[in-house]
């Protein structure tokens, strides 16, 4: 599995297990806020879970433009890659 695939799996896991988002509604293009019903604290919860799992850090500024799962995966997997 690529870094990005692993990040997507971790994101989905947190969305379903921790935030109780219905798994069938989660796609890469789904808007995290409008489609999946997240708020800013939820987004931080998801990001922190991935940060911890992969030993990376994302700044608040970098997260500002993230609105979809795919964008979050791009941002986070780039960090994982640069750490490798």
């Amino acid at each position: 599995m690529s870094n990005r695939d692993e990040v997507v799996v971790a994101l989905k896991e947190t969305l379903v297990d921790r935030l109780k988002v219905e798994a069938s509604t989660i796609t890469e293009d789904a808007n995290l806020f409008e489609d999946l019903g997240l708020d800013s604290i939820d987004l931080m919860t998801v990001v922190m879970a991935v940060e911890e799992k992969f030993g990376i850090e994302v700044s608040d500024e970098e997260l500002e433009d993230v609105t979809t799962l795919g964008q979050a995966a791009d941002l986070l997997s780039a960090k994982v890659g640069s750490n490798a």
Partner: protein
């Protein structure tokens, strides 16, 4: 003094160690059934006490979809479930009343203690970036009051009272004020607590407050008995619907009891010990009687705070004698069955008091074997008792020296 707006109790929702829902709860109290057992939620190796009264078979998914409960700690889940059941018991569809006329006042001694413990561990082992972003929102004691309003859309006065084991008594007093003052027509009110956590149990053990009957949990809580040795730590929530009398009548609600008045006071004596002569408790009961426009002889039942501590039960006995004289009405403690629900203790005892008024039955003090001369009361020993009575007073007292009494009347 202008006439006070009358208040009805129209619904009760208990989430307690002796039952979830009003029918199982009341059936247990009438039967004298204990909710005690051993701690199951964590390893108690090294603890002086390993008994408690847990709410078993509780699943928040039975009350709300998981997505909506993601930010509810266990104490908030209890309060939400209790509120939902109380509204159903009252026959009140949350969508029916003007939402700005419905308030929520739910007290808690602490709030989400377990979450604080877990995130303190995260902080110490993994650093500040590992602390949950929603820690504050979930652990704060007012999270329950806030969540109940959010889920049902109630926009009236909303607050959480934090007066330790008097918290739900103070909550009900606030609810009475909101309705009397015209700030709300309906108030969802009570208390919630989840103190059975690694830190919570350790702290109460260290304070030497708990019964040590580890081999016999069901008989550990012995209010007013000579051999009482401390209280049984319990968790749960009981929420009631207080409703302006005219509003309840207008919608054809079944009125369970009338809320006649309340008293509040402080011992101003010691953070954890009661004033030994029961002065503060007596002042509280006297204020409640005056507020209810009743005399001591009108009261047919006292629901005691009666936690089964040596000092507390003796001081409350003195307070009862100060107010009611040499022949006080029957005085029992349902904590003999439920254990001590701390911030939910008052509303849980109030639930038994209201149902007692409805069915004309005095809840018993179970585990009563050996009378204590320092507690010379008719404690309704071991068996519920039929009785004709028109009014009852419920006491609830807390660390910090807080006292609250609520008076209920038969319909």
């Amino acid at each position: 003094m202008p006439n006070k707006r009358r208040i009805a109790v129209t619904g009760i929702g208990p989430v307690t160690p002796v039952g979830i829902g009003i029918d199982p709860f009341w059936e247990s109290i009438r039967a004298g059934r204990s909710g005690a057992g051993h701690v199951t939620s964590f390893d108690t190796t090294g603890y002086a006490v390993n008994i408690c009264a847990e709410v078993s078979d509780f699943d928040i998914a039975n009350f709300i979809e998981p997505r909506r409960s993601r930010r509810m700690e266990r104490f908030t889940q209890f309060a939400y479930a209790a509120s939902k059941m109380a509204l159903e018991h009252a026959g009140l569809d949350p969508k029916d009343p003007d939402p700005s006329r419905v308030g929520v006042v739910i007290g808690s001694g602490v709030g989400g203690l377990r979450l604080i413990e877990d995130d303190t561990m995260n902080l110490n082992t993994k650093g500040p970036r590992s602390v949950a972003p929603d820690l504050i929102a979930r652990m704060m004691a007012n999270s329950a009051s806030g969540a109940v309003a959010i889920e049902f859309g109630f926009q009236g006065p909303n607050e959480a009272t934090v007066t330790a084991c008097a918290a739900s008594g103070n909550a009900m007093a606030r609810a009475i004020d909101h309705i009397r003052n015209g700030h709300a027509d309906v108030v969802v009110t009570g208390g919630t607590e989840t103190p059975i956590t690694p830190l919570g149990l350790a702290a109460f053990c260290a304070a030497r407050a708990l019964s040590k009957q580890n081999d016999d949990p069901q008989h550990a809580s012995r209010p007013f008995d000579l051999n009482r040795d401390g209280f049984l730590l319990a968790e749960g929530s009981t929420v009631m619907i207080f409703e302006a009398w005219d509003v309840a009548v207008a919608r054809g609600a079944t009125i369970l009891a009338e809320v006649l008045g309340y008293g509040l006071s402080a011992d101003a004596h010691h953070l954890v010990m009661p004033q030994p002569e029961g002065v503060g408790a007596a002042a509280c009961m006297t204020m409640a009687l005056e507020d209810s426009e009743l005399t001591p002889s009108d009261i047919g039942y006292i629901s005691a705070h009666g936690t089964a501590t040596s000092l507390g039960d003796a001081a409350e006995t003195k307070a009862v004698h100060k107010v009611f004289g040499n022949s006080p009405p029957p005085t029992s403690s349902t904590k003999s069955m439920t254990g001590h629900l701390l911030g939910a203790a008052g509303s849980t005892a109030a639930a038994a008091t209201v149902m007692g008024l409805v069915d004309q039955i005095l809840p018993p003090t179970t585990n009563y074997e050996t009378p204590d001369p320092a507690c010379d009361l008719d404690v309704v020993p071991n068996q519920a008792r039929p009785a004709k009575f028109d009014a009852a007073i419920m006491n609830t007292f807390g660390f910090g020296g807080h006292n609250a009494s609520i008076v209920f009347g038969k319909v």
